[in-house]
Chain length 534, copies 2
């Protein structure tokens, strides 16, 4: 029975069992492209031959700088099928960061969408290991590449699309690679293997996880260039769901329209994305025609967003948690029969938790001195995880998990008696006030329940008596006004008195990192000179 697990079998399964199911993509070219699993599989057969013809062999890194489209999906499967490694690069990185990562990863081929030609041009002269550049899409407006590039479509056209007798790479050898955002220190590369990928695929599609089936039409807005788009490029072919890729058009209007025209039943993305879409829907007074579930992760969804989806739009929110190091899905908020019986208010509050651990991922709360803490929903501690799709060692041999197998997530969390995880804060974002902790996330979520607040972020600023005190930075919603006093009054009944921010500042925008999250490091720099007085 020990038949090795292979990634290509996922797409092959879809092509055999769901040949006519569609993959729809908004392209960089601007149009909407549609084809089927059967077409995708044939093009992956061509692509794998093209990669071999380019000299790509087992273990070689093929990097991608691409939007969520069918071509990026082909790259995933084409590389992994041949035993090469698909290295997804985040196009929101600076050229310097990109150079560091590509050189560290030993990338050999770099495939990129037209939108990222300027970034590639800026980085190319310093890329030491890349020998081949492949342009995935061509647009009239694109910057001319300064380097020699091959054309993706031409490479494919040259190869037959008949069935390939796929090799069976070692299921524990890398097939995927993704670097963490690296807000502290150098970015670290997380390797995925066929084994970790397939176990994660089965587990993440279960009814109490994402609950994916052939009945679904799924729009992965969460980027394929980061955390494997929560594994959807693997789980959707496995179940034969229709796929709708938004490409580069991530504004609320474009996403909403694609949802409606393609009959999307489930969408997955970070809160920032949904904020844009919900704002569009609100302004237009529009409704969701087909959307039934939305998966929210990447950063915590506030209760305001949960209530809007659930109560105003009857769209079920599946809040989740994971990170690059956990493949990424580790926990999903699905209720048990007991929780279904709660009142609407209690359910909405519970929905802001990140959910229960998937079978395969084990969680543990630890005190600073390494004791296991209680699962009582009150005591918070460092969150540790372990399991067959949790990182052990980073690319280049950098230690990941501890010697005892546990990986320290860097998150501060609570877990309640029913196993529901609540991320209290990143360990480095938590505000240490007089020896006690204040959760920046909880303050932000409380602020965002005010209708005039579009976005909010809380950082700790130095305080002569309490070490640190919270500063709330707030982006008002267009056309709304709100004063410091009004906001404080709004927060008062929602958080402990000593958590109330000592200062509130208004801003037009907040800095966002490559993965769409608020960049607290940049915010701290912006307010580096900020001083509170007793």
């Amino acid at each position: 029975m020990p038949l090795p697990l292979r990634v290509i079998d996922l797409l092959r399964h879809a092509a055999r069992n769901h040949p006519q199911v569609e993959i729809v993509s908004r392209r960089v070219e601007g149009d909407v492209h549609r084809y089927t699993y059967s077409d995708a599989y044939r093009r992956v057969c061509s692509l794998s031959r093209a990669l071999t013809a380019l000299g790509v062999s087992r273990g070689d890194k093929v990097a991608s700088l691409a939007w969520n489209t069918y071509r990026h999906l082909e790259l995933y499967y084409g590389t992994m099928a041949t035993g090469a490694v698909c290295h997804t690069l985040n196009p929101r990185l600076t050229a310097d960061q990109l150079v560091w990562i590509c050189n560290h990863a030993d990338d050999r081929v770099l495939c990129f969408d037209a939108s990222f030609a300027p970034l590639v041009n800026a980085a190319a002269p310093r890329l030491k290991t890349v020998t081949t550049y492949v342009l995935l899409s061509r647009t009239a407006a694109m910057a001319a590449p300064l380097i020699e590039v091959l054309d993706y479509e031409e490479l494919l056209a040259r190869q037959p699309s008949t069935e390939v007798d796929w090799p069976t790479p070692d299921e524990n050898a890398p097939c995927g690679l993704c670097y963490t955002s690296g807000t502290t220190g150098d970015p670290k590369g997380v390797c995925y293997t066929p084994r970790s990928t397939l176990l994660h695929t089965w587990a993440s599609a279960l009814p109490d996880a994402l609950g994916l089936s052939a009945q679904d039409t799924v729009m992965p807005v969460v980027p394929m260039f980061h955390v494997n788009a929560w594994g959807l490029p693997f789980s959707l072919p496995m179940v034969g769901a229709k796929v709708v890729f938004p490409g580069p058009a991530l504004d609320g209007k474009s996403l909403y329209e694609l949802c409606e025209t393609e009959g999307v039943t489930m969408a997955a993305g970070v809160p920032t994305i949904w904020q844009g879409m919900l704002e569009h829907v609100r302004l237009k007074g529009a409704r969701f025609g087909s959307l039934r579930r939305t998966v929210i992760g990447g950063s915590a969804a506030g209760e305001a967003m949960v209530r809007t989806f659930e109560l105003d739009h009857d769209v079920r929110v599946l809040h989740g948690w994971g990170m690059t190091e956990t493949s990424p899905v580790a926990a999903i908020n699905q209720f048990t029969p007991r929780q279904r019986g709660l009142s609407a208010n209690e359910r909405m509050r519970l929905k802001t938790k990140q959910g229960r651990e998937l079978f395969g991922v084990e969680m543990r709360l630890e005190s600073e001195d390494g004791r296991e803490l209680a699962r009582d929903g009150v005591v918070s501690g460092r969150l540790l995880v372990r399991g067959p799709w949790v990182v052990e060692t980073y690319q280049g041999g950098v230690a990941g998990a501890r010697a005892d197998g546990w990986f320290d997530t860097g998150d501060i969390a609570t877990i309640d008696a029913d196993g529901f995880l609540l991320i209290v804060d990143r360990a480095k974002d938590v505000i240490k006030s007089g020896g006690e902790w204040i959760s920046s996330i909880e303050l932000e979520n409380a602020a965002m329940t005010h209708p005039a607040v579009l976005e909010a972020a809380v950082i700790g600023v130095p305080h002569p008596k309490w070490d640190e005190r919270p500063l709330l930075v707030c982006v008002p919603r267009a056309g709304h006004e709100i004063s410091r006093e009004q906001l404080l009054a709004h927060l008062q009944p929602r958080v402990a008195k000593w958590w109330l921010p000592d200062a509130i500042e208004f801003a037009e925008t907040l800095p966002h990192g490559a993965t769409g999250k608020v960049l607290k490091t940049a915010l701290r720099e912006r307010f580096a000179a900020y001083r509170l007085h007793q």
Copy 2:
């Protein structure tokens, strides 16, 4: 990431995340027992210590002769957790068969329910390797064992139930063992490993497979002594579903009552079992209060049964297919969006097919000369399967899969363009008439759509001109009468003219094998002297 897969982690996960969810069992003692996943886990900790104290070590076979109850569940986990092998024995075997299998398997410990004391008494003198007998349950009426037996409850009571620091057995070493019914030749032992078991567990619980979640209350009627009760002892703890074990009471009345009192939402069993339950419900004019889905496998469910469940009772039928050699779930009949749009009649007919392959199991139809046949729903051929939970080698090194990795199921099947499998017949049961094949299963199902027919079986009998022709053996429903002519008239519009049976015989009962299926070998013996004349 290559953390090894362990079976005990399933129950540990349930105990940590669903500690208060119940496992309810109708016991051999006659009462209904209830406890929680947390209780089960604590008793498994005690049991594993007790097994070690008995000298059971890694690789040792611990055999069970037991009904579906919480104690059998404990045996599964207690043995596998220590690295021993849980060998489930079919109590419907004769003493001779049991002796052959236990000696062949090298069983060391034999655990049995009181009901099976006579069988154990008959077999024990010839069991060469069993050193320890454990009585799981005690009843006033039980036959006194002739051998020295240990008391299961006493063994557990002697050991602490605190957390065990579980070992990590090789994930590719056997943890489970089950012998095929062996209707042809000697029985063959199929070994399951932690890896095959866990992959099967994830895959079989997916929305398009059994669709198991913490919302469910599941009654596994399919026996744990055979094909691991379709993996439910593993998948139910994984998802935290409430479990309802029927114990020895498998009559329609007992099953129906347990369904109703415990709020069962899903039940799993062979057609014979459902026939008894539906008959009880029909006679009583009763309704199902909570049952939403029923999984039917083991042998094909006829359209009559599908219609009764679906149209009369609004219970969704999930027809499935698998065998001891496939862990066992390989295919489940779940519709895609296209099929949901069919008419009720078309849907009911499609429901009699065994469904689509799970991702992980690949199916292939082959002609007698080894060519791959078309997936057109018309051409039938030998069904081959392969995948990480399909047998490779039987216990004792007996060859299972072919050198190319494919396992020949011995079934004749068609697969349609949407991937739906239809088992036409067992290769050995198909009736070869004038060089063409007649499906005994299809004829039986057609006969069973007549309201006066309780059960039907078709075998081939020698014919001077056509080699073989079908003989239909029919059990009329109590209180009904039906003539040969009426039955033929009923069949005429339902099957091809040349398929019509040449002879019809009535019987009070049909012989059933150890797994509840009609024993065609016994039926052929009963009609060995039967001759048809041209």
